[in-house]
């Protein structure tokens, strides 16, 4: 006889959440933007513009300038003048005031900026609101605190700014990457020409407006928009003293060879293929959340995404079952809906790359799993995807997909986990899940990755240095280390 409850079962509720859409009314979009050079928005000398679209709807949001060589020159000249005449000799405590003011203004306008970030980039509003914007403000606050303490940070080394920094940032975290680049550069006393990615230029331009309202002297921050050619002209400009680039490894290699012998300082934060290692004694349900967050956060458009999952063989099947079940509860769709977990793919180009690699995974014999999922008709979308039965030799285990695709492999011993985890040209991040403290320390020591998370994943803090090994780049952003690339005479 069963001891189950014998009361009649009342019909369970199939509970659907009503759409809860964040209003876009708070964002005042312009039809056409200018280049922010020397404190003003200016029409490009190139006279060229290109559209930026909402990847969730494919609707055009605005036109932005495509800065040509003359525009780049103008921006660099403005930055140089601002450095020479103003910012470079401003006392640290004065620079700090501006940074604190910017941080507070970001907080005040965070709702507007979060909505804009979601509209232009496709990320869920929940993430833009709860992750991106708080980190943007935190980064400015943090480096504001360093601005007048550089002598204490590097005692006896007489830290001095380099001059003009040329910064090129990616489309996955547009405003957050802007903050990671601008805050330390400005805190150290440099002036900046920054180029946002061509698919996500808007939040940087709205930030320019904010910086101007904050009273930042003209030329200290210049924002120029454009595609690869604009970025190329910026990093090649002889008036730039320091180049900071976050983006793909292939472009990073190009920049490095271009800059060889130029005397310019360089930091690169490039691709990744992070190993996420789950031991059999891990807290499994929380590890599942960590894995989900590791690969589906921001549609997997994350350089440190945990895209290679290594599960200890003894729990492999159970863990994969749990993962599949969890995958089916992810809410994919309208990024502006506050309940959306996975938003739109950033561009048609990126969608094509993800599709190509997923097809390659199937052709090479890995087993694909995708939950049932109704996708919107317009826009760029990709269903959250798992691959099991993946081998190290498969392309999906080697190449960065930069999308919501997880490759799952198994291991038997800690040594094997380390060997496989390190068997990649990349080395940005890694994750370890185990209850055993000594094993965490041993793994962190063995893994060739700039960041190792233990029993968590994708945690960021301005005080924690972030950066890679091998083809994931060099230089660190965040923390005291993040100041080094922007100071003269202090080696990396």
């Amino acid at each position: 006889m069963s001891s189950k409850a014998v009361v009649p079962v009342s019909a369970p509720l199939d509970w659907q959440y009503a759409p809860s859409r964040e209003s876009t009314g708070i964002v005042a979009l312009k039809e056409r933007y200018g280049l922010f050079i020397d404190g003003k928005f200016r029409a490009p000398l190139s006279k060229k513009y290109f559209p930026t679209i909402n990847p969730a709807t494919e609707e055009e949001l605005a036109e932005v300038p495509e800065a040509g060589a003359q525009d780049v020159n103008r921006a660099v000249v403005a930055a140089r003048r601002a450095f020479d005449e103003d910012w470079g000799s401003l006392p640290g405590k004065e620079r700090a005031k501006y940074l604190f003011r910017i941080a507070r203004m970001v907080q005040e306008r965070s709702r507007e900026l979060a909505v804009l970030e979601t509209m232009d980039g496709g990320k869920p509003i929940r993430e833009a609101r709860d992750v991106d914007l708080p980190l943007v403000a935190a980064h400015f606050f943090y480096y504001a605190g360093w601005a007048d303490k550089l002598e204490y940070a590097f005692p006896g080394l007489h830290p001095e700014p380099l001059g003009v920094a040329g910064q090129v940032i990616p489309w996955n975290f547009p405003l957050m990457m802007l903050a990671w680049k601008l805050a330390p550069a400005l805190a150290a006393g440099n002036t900046v020409v920054l180029k946002p990615a061509e698919t996500t230029p808007l939040s940087a331009l709205h930030f320019a407006e904010l910086a101007s309202e904050a009273g930042l002297p003209p030329g200290v921050v210049n924002i120029i928009t454009g595609a690869g050619a604009t970025g190329g002209a910026l990093v090649a400009h002889p008036g730039v003293d320091k180049v900071a680039f976050t983006g793909s490894t292939s472009v990073g290699k190009l920049i490095r060879s271009q800059l060889a012998g130029s005397g310019k300082r360089l930091t690169l934060e490039l691709g990744g293929k992070a190993a996420h290692v789950i031991f059999e004694d891990a807290p499994l349900d929380q590890a599942i959340e960590g894995v989900i967050n590791g690969i589906f956060f921001n549609q997997g458009h994350v350089c440190c995404a945990g895209s290679r999952l290594f599960v200890q063989e003894s729990i492999h099947d159970r863990f994969v079952d749990k993962l599949k079940r969890r995958l089916s509860t992810l809410r994919v769709g309208d990024p502006l809906d506050k309940n959306t977990d996975v938003g739109a793919i950033n561009s048609a180009e990126q969608l094509a790359r993800i599709t190509e690699l997923v097809e390659a995974g199937q052709l090479e014999g890995a087993e694909i799993y995708q939950p049932e999922c109704v996708l919107p008709r317009n826009g760029f979308w990709f269903v959250p995807t798992l691959f099991t039965g993946v081998s190290q030799s498969h392309r999906i285990a080697q190449e960065e997909i930069f999308g919501p695709v997880l490759s799952i492999m198994s291991f038997r011993t800690p040594e094997e986990a380390v060997e496989k985890a390190n068997n990649t040209p990349y080395g940005l991040s890694a994750g370890v899940w185990t209850q055993k403290g000594s094993r965490i320390l041993w793994m962190a020591d063995q893994l060739k990755a700039g960041v190792v998370w233990a029993n968590t994943y994708n945690k960021f803090d301005p005080s924690s240095p972030f950066g890679g090994y091998k083809e994931s780049g060099f230089g660190r952003e965040g923390g005291r280390h993040g100041l080094l690339p922007y100071l003269k005479g202090i080696g990396l």
Binding site: V6, S10, D14, W15, A18, R126, L284, A287
Partner: protein, 320 residues
């Protein structure tokens, strides 16, 4: 008639059940990372539930409520009033469902049975010397037998936390098993873990597995007499234990957070956690209950607002 824990329920346990074997089983139960649990709960708490989905949730919450009074000053009159509220929570709006059950002390059982006769409201009695359970097993069985004979639909028992914390796992297991034997198949047994006295989420998960293996139809967080009571993190951990137990044994077990849930907003968060952890199969009063005394009126207030567009003061909702 002895009704042992069924084969499916004990299928996760070692062949010979004693304190040593139960101990090694419990140590093999997957551990819990508290930081991760808190993060998951915080993320789910940002779900934005509006309009129709909010109304559906609030009406479901009413139908899942175990309206509770467990006080030394309870009287037949108080019970009669609470039962009246349980059957018809909002006299102005008959479309609001009745609550699932009233939850009371054993001495009040005859009065409650009398008061809810003919309605769908069930009578649940606490037993096993609630809330401390600090008596001999024999007395606990006896008290359970007494309320079952009086005709209750459901029994809310407490586990022996002292025994669990001192490693006497078999004593805890055996008491639950024996109480379930007395309940039989017809009376639902809810097992209170009193998570506020357990000290770690690992032990919340272990006691959940132990209670389900021993025969609990529903596992319940708290007596309401110890703080903290029903928190979202504890509830998530118990729901995850229920999910693992179900996928390993095929036996479905219910959940009841009790104590400290006072607002509609909180209730909806519990339902979101339930919905996204166990799915729609548990979104019914048969598998989920709220143990609460003051939550009901706040939910009624919100329901009326959703239906009429107006907020009314607390004076427009009966206090029984």
């Amino acid at each position: 008639m002895a009704l042992p824990a069924t084969a499916e329920r004990t299928s996760l346990l070692p062949g010979r059940i004693n304190t040593a074997t139960l101990g090694s089983y419990l140590r093999s139960v997957s551990t819990v990372d508290e930081v991760g649990v808190n993060e998951r709960v915080a993320a789910l708490s940002t779900r934005s539930i509006k309009k129709d989905s909010k109304l559906a949730a609030l009406e479901l919450a009413v139908s899942m409520m175990d309206l509770t009074t467990l006080e030394g000053k309870d009287t037949p009159g108080k019970i009669a009033q609470m039962c009246s509220k349980a059957m018809r929570p909002d006299p102005v709006d008959p479309s609001v469902p009745s609550v699932a059950a009233v939850c009371i002390y054993p001495a009040m059982v005859p009065h409650a049975i009398e008061a809810v006769r003919g309605s769908r409201v069930k009578v649940a009695s606490v037993a096993t010397y609630f809330p401390s359970g600090q008596v001999d097993t024999k007395l606990k069985i006896e008290e359970t037998r007494r309320v079952v004979e009086l005709g209750v639909d459901e029994v809310d028992m407490v586990i022996d936390r002292g025994a669990f914390l001192s490693g006497q796992y078999f004593k805890v297991f055996d008491e639950i098993r024996k109480v379930k034997e007395v309940c039989g198949g017809a009376v639902k047994l809810k097992v209170i873990l009193e998570t506020g006295e357990l000290g770690s989420l690992d032990d919340v998960r272990r006691t959940s597995m132990l209670a389900m293996s021993a025969g609990a139809d529903t596992i319940k967080t708290s007596t309401g007499k110890v703080q903290p009571a029903a928190t979202l993190p504890v509830t998530l951990v118990m729901l995850e234990a229920i999910r693992d137990f179900y996928s390993a044994t095929g036996v479905q077990v219910g959940m009841k957070p009790a104590g400290g849930i006072r607002t509609s907003k909180e209730a909806i968060r519990f339902l979101v956690v339930l919905n996204e952890t166990l799915g729609s199969g548990w979104m019914t009063p048969d598998w989920f209950r709220f143990g609460a005394s003051t939550l009901l009126n706040d939910v009624l207030m919100q329901i009326r607002w959703l239906k009429t567009g107006r907020y009314q003061s607390a004076d427009y909702f009966t206090k029984d």
